[in-house]
Amino acid sequence: MGEMEQLRKEAESLKDEITAARKAVQDLTLQDHVAGTAVVGRVQLKTRKTLRGHLSKIYAVHWGDSKLCVSASQDGKLIVWDSYTTNKVHAIPLKSSWVMTCAYAPSGNMVACGGLDNMCSIYNLKGKDGNVKVMRELAAHTGYLSCCRFLNDNEIITSSGDCTCVLWDIETGSQKTVFAGHLGDCMSLGVAPDFNTFISGACDFTAKLWDIRDGQCRQTFGGHESDINAIGFFPNGNAVITGSDDASCKLYDLRSDQELITYQDSGIMCGVTSLAPSLSGRLILAGYDDFNCNIWDSLKAERVGVLSGHDNRVSCIGVTPDGMACCTGSWDSFLKIWN
């Protein structure tokens, strides 16, 4: 047997062992545990604000705190909004209009974006003269930038179409750690509430949990039948939710290393583009290609609400840190605030 063939056999055998180890700890299912729990009542969220100003498809939105958010559009602009008043706090023109992601630093001092330019550009919002300028351009990915998230003002994690994720030192512009292992484009990432780990979803249909400091992949979750476009941590940090082109969302339990439940409906046949959990995690809001956003009861896996109002695909969604509202962004060029 050739070396390659031997390695392939070993990989298959290890995967079987992992499957068996997961089964061995599965002495209760979520469905059985919540059999006696009632589905939550119908959830009806209303549009409270519409943020108008972008001239083209919106690809990403990210809350900075529970009032300010940043959005990215292929009109070549990043806009920082005061969602209470709908005023534009900053309108930042981009060098490349092919933007696919944006992020707000937890401190509120910076925003970042990137896309088909393969770079992550960092902008300082608190410059001395009041102008927002590019602070750093992080270049090394050999594929598009699909997502980015700040750990702090000096570290940011990016995911890319080159199948890797990278932890960057913003000050020096260098790659601190490369997280390699996905076999397809990385589409989305989420940082754990304790900032020690992050998760990535990719076009190899898997989600991976990574240790930020030692660069290792700790866990890999499969089950989806197509690209994973959206991923997020459950609010308590112990579970992960994914959204896929296979029209379903899944909940994976980190502690038992397995899938707990799938959120799908025979009436939904289009891909999930984005998702966000509510403050308690009992609700999962998921944006779809069919212009709607469905609200799922995360424990009972039933649809309990829908956000309709956009005239095109819902491409991004985010819930404020205090859980008071959610923001949807769409290819119709508008952002809506709901609660």
Binding site: L14, V43, K49, F234, N236, L299, G323
Partner: protein
């Protein structure tokens, strides 16, 4: 997996060996703890408890006044 070269395949196998070592807890422990966490938090969840949204920053709290 067919597109990987030998080094990548070796890394893939090493990663799988590491992932196999993960200390998996029983779902009879993790699921009840997860659902308990959720149920306790639901009271504070603005989308589930309308009382939390009484002061809604995105809704005008006062009516317009004609001056």
């Amino acid at each position: 997996m067919d597109e990987l070269d030998e080094t990548q395949l070796k890394n893939h196998v090493d990663s799988l060996k590491q992932q196999l070592q993960f200390n998996r807890e029983k779902t009879s422990v993790t699921i009840p703890e997860l659902t308990k966490w959720i149920e306790e938090k639901m009271n504070e969840d603005p989308f589930l408890n309308p009382d939390v949204l009484k002061d809604n920053p995105w809704v005008e709290s006062s009516k317009c006044v004609i001056i």
